[in-house]
């Protein structure tokens, strides 16, 4: 089956006065039709830049410097700006953290929706208005008929985000990219919005790329998760595997550092020392190596590839069956922690 979205070896560069920064470095992932892929990582990991690169809206001077982006098998990274404008809204719907970035404050909600539908569909204005109202009902706007003539500022934050969801789905896109769609909302409203995005996209078979720093949101919403670290893929796999059997030392540490509502509160929360490097200061070898308890010789010199481990893929030498093997003590520690080391064990140091 052709992936709804396929990102292959994506490289995004940002030229600055002090040199060219590599914001995304050799990133590949697929999203299957109807699948929800969560994209997680700490702030600055490159989540938003990845989303912007896909929709062709990188802030200058950022640029796609390598790789391919395919939407249902067709390349879209080399399209003209006007062809890309056609794809945005029609084939890729977008939901951002701040609903006001997607809504024009001076237009009535109903007009904005109707106009979007008319841009992408050859139907009468009346049919478009009816569809707009049906969408507002579907996203849970009370009294949708009368609310059509309200302006964005007349809605609460949660209601506005519902309108944005209606707008994103108005042209029945094959992919929705949602960048931190609930981060600005109250906890009790977050759950409503997540449930809504999940239900509507499931009903329509729409694929979703859900970008968030909140692992709880991902755990409850995504089918698969892609973990980014310093602009590189750390691990990708099914949500249960990544949360419960993380294979990359970074993901492993991240999951253990997140307090939960049902774990034992007396159990230790692990901490990862240090913090993610800035783009200009990514260390040689594995980007995570200065913070990693398992690092060994080659981690400081070579950049790990992507290695299969169980049903996941992880970018860590512990899973590389060829090349320099980790010392026996490292292998033992990793196995004790629940990492399925695939590298053969080296000699005792």
């Amino acid at each position: 089956m052709t992936a709804a979205l396929s990102v292959r070896n994506l490289r995004v560069e940002i030229p600055t006065r002090r040199g060219v920064l590599t914001a995304i470095d050799d990133l590949s992932f697929d999203i299957a039709p109807g699948e929800v892929l969560g994209v997680v990582g700490e702030s600055g990991a490159g989540k938003s830049i990845t989303g912007s690169a896909i929709i062709g809206l990188l802030d200058p001077p950022g640029r796609v410097a390598g790789g391919e982006i395919l939407l249902s098998g067709e390349r879209i990274d080399n399209l003209s700006p006007s062809a890309m404008r056609q794809i945005r809204g029609k084939r890729i719907g977008m939901i951002f953290q701040d609903p006001l970035t997607s809504l024009n404050p001076l237009y009535r909600i109903g007009d904005q929706l109707t106009e979007t539908i008319l841009t992408h569909e050859a139907i009468s204005a009346k049919a478009a208005a009816e569809k707009a109202e049906r969408l507002l009902v579907e996203v849970g706007i009370p009294a949708a008929g009368t609310r059509m003539s309200s302006y964005p500022h007349q809605f609460s934050g949660g209601m506005r985000q519902r309108v944005v969801i209606a707008l994103a789905l108005a042209a029945d896109p094959e992919l929705v990219i949602a960048d931190e769609p609930t981060t600005a909302l109250d906890v009790s409203v977050q759950a409503q919005i997540i449930a809504l995005i999940k239900r509507l996209c499931k009903d329509r078979g729409t694929s979703v790329m859900l970008i968030t720093h909140d692992m709880g949101v991902i755990a409850e919403t995504a089918d698969r998760v892609c973990v980014l670290y310093a602009g590189r893929l750390a691990e990708i796999g099914a949500v249960r595997d990544v949360v419960k059997r993380a294979q990359h030392p970074y993901t492993h540490g991240l999951m253990a550092a997140i307090p939960s509502l049902i774990d034992d509160p007396n159990e230790k929360l692990e901490q990862i020392p240090g913090s993610m490097p800035r783009l200009g200061a990514i260390p040689a070898g594995c980007a995570f190596n200065p913070r990693c308890t398992y690092r060994f010789g080659r981690c400081m010199r070579e950049r790990p590839g992507i290695y299969p481990v169980g049903a996941s893929d992880a970018s860590c030498f512990l899973h590389d069956a060829s090349g320099e093997a980790p010392p026996a003590a490292v292998v033992r520690n990793a196995i004790d922690a629940g990492i399925d080391v695939r590298a053969s064990e080296g000699a005792e140091p």
């Binding site: 609460s156 209601m159 009790s188 709880g216 409850e220 509160p265 901490q271």
Partner: protein
């Protein structure tokens, strides 16, 4: 990874049972009206917002009391009144028996203020970018005249930096040279410099990434054990609260709706709001769960619903709920403000 335990802090007992902090009937309103002349010209009336409304709570020595609530529920306003930054409109805050808002002799007031410090959410905004780290940390020492000798003060700053896991040589650097987590360590060192007993932490890890959040939570717990600190820990993150608190108070639109020992609150919540909040928080250990999000949104605080503020969103509401404010009453180890609980319409304890 360095595996420092983050287990529940144990309250340090010093023999006395009197609470360190006693808050009675605390309230704060804000005047949102336009200026008087505009009001007259535009015919608009006076608008007041009640940010905090009759909050009673007490914090024991050595414990971590956590206040949770969604944004706008009044957490930061309470924090500011408790540390002495914002005068209350009603009620009192007593620290070790002394009312911090009553006119006191200057010396007594200063002595009390020295014993209270605060850590803010945003480690970027709370540190003066033009000051070196050393000056930032020693500022409270100077303000309270604690150490007059310059060399001695520098030594103390070095000790404090080591205490929070930084290098004494960092004193000569500027805040922008540090990451978010390191800046929060600097803010903690500053808060500790006047040797306080009580620290109010307002969302201390909300601006940090999770891998760094665990470092700061571990540090706070470690310092509590070593220095016998008492914390008022404010957060909107229930999972974090569950990991740090001994007792938890839940705020909704400026009112305390429930208070209980942490264990009890999370295993046996009483108030319908607490129950629904616990059910709606996205959680890493609950992949694929089906749930019922709370209906509706937080109402406008300028015009909160009458009676119980939660009634428009409450599945248990009945006659008195939209008329009478429910009093905070005891149910086993918990206190909760709910008419349905009061009338026994829901079995208070799950046993």
């Amino acid at each position: 990874m360095s595996v420092e335990a983050l287990s529940r802090p144990r309250p340090a007992h010093d023999g006395t049972d009197a609470p360190l902090v006693e808050i009675v009937g605390l309230g704060r309103t804000f005047d949102l009206s336009k200026r008087w002349l505009n009001r007259v010209l535009e015919g608009s009336g006076k608008v007041t917002l009640t940010a905090v409304d009759g909050v009673d709570m007490s914090i024991r020595r050595g414990e971590t009391y956590a206040l949770v609530g969604e944004s706008g529920s009044g957490k930061s306003t309470i924090a500011k009144m408790v540390v002495g930054l914002l005068p209350p409109s009603a009620g009192s805050v007593r620290i070790d028996g002394v009312d911090i808002w009553k006119e006191l002799g200057g010396a007594e007031q200063r002595q009390i203020r020295r014993r209270i410090q605060m850590i803010f959410q945003d480690p970027f905004a709370s540190l003066n970018p033009r000051w070196r780290v050393g000056s930032i940390i020693e500022e409270p020492i100077k303000a309270f005249d604690l150490i007059t000798d310059k060399r001695e003060r520098e030594n103390r700053v070095g000790e404090l930096l080591s205490l929070v896991g930084l290098d004494p040589r960092d004193a000569g650097k500027f805040p922008h040279e540090f990451s978010g987590g390191q800046r929060q360590r600097i803010a903690i060192a500053r808060a500790l410099s006047s040797s306080p007993e009580f620290i109010v932490c307002d969302e201390p890890t909300s601006a940090l990434d999770v891998s760094v959040q665990a470092q700061v939570l571990n540090l706070l717990r470690d310092l509590q054990e070593r220095l016998g600190l008492t914390y008022l820990f404010i957060s909107h993150n229930l999972a974090v609260v569950r990991h740090v608190a001994n007792r938890v108070g839940v705020l909704y639109l400026g009112r305390l709706v429930e208070e209980a020992p942490a264990r009890t609150l999370f295993s046996d919540p009483q108030h319908p709001y607490t129950k629904m909040l616990l059910d709606s928080v996205p959680d890493i250990d609950m992949t694929g769960r089906e749930r019922t999000p709370i209906a509706g949104e937080i109402p406008n605080p300028v015009n909160p619903p009458p009676g119980c503020h939660f009634h428009p969103r409450c599945p248990l509401r009945f006659e008195p709920c939209d008329k009478v404010r429910p009093p905070l009453k005891e149910y086993g180890q918990s206190r909760a403000a709910c008419h349905a609980l009061e009338e026994g319409r829901v079995s208070a304890h799950r046993d």
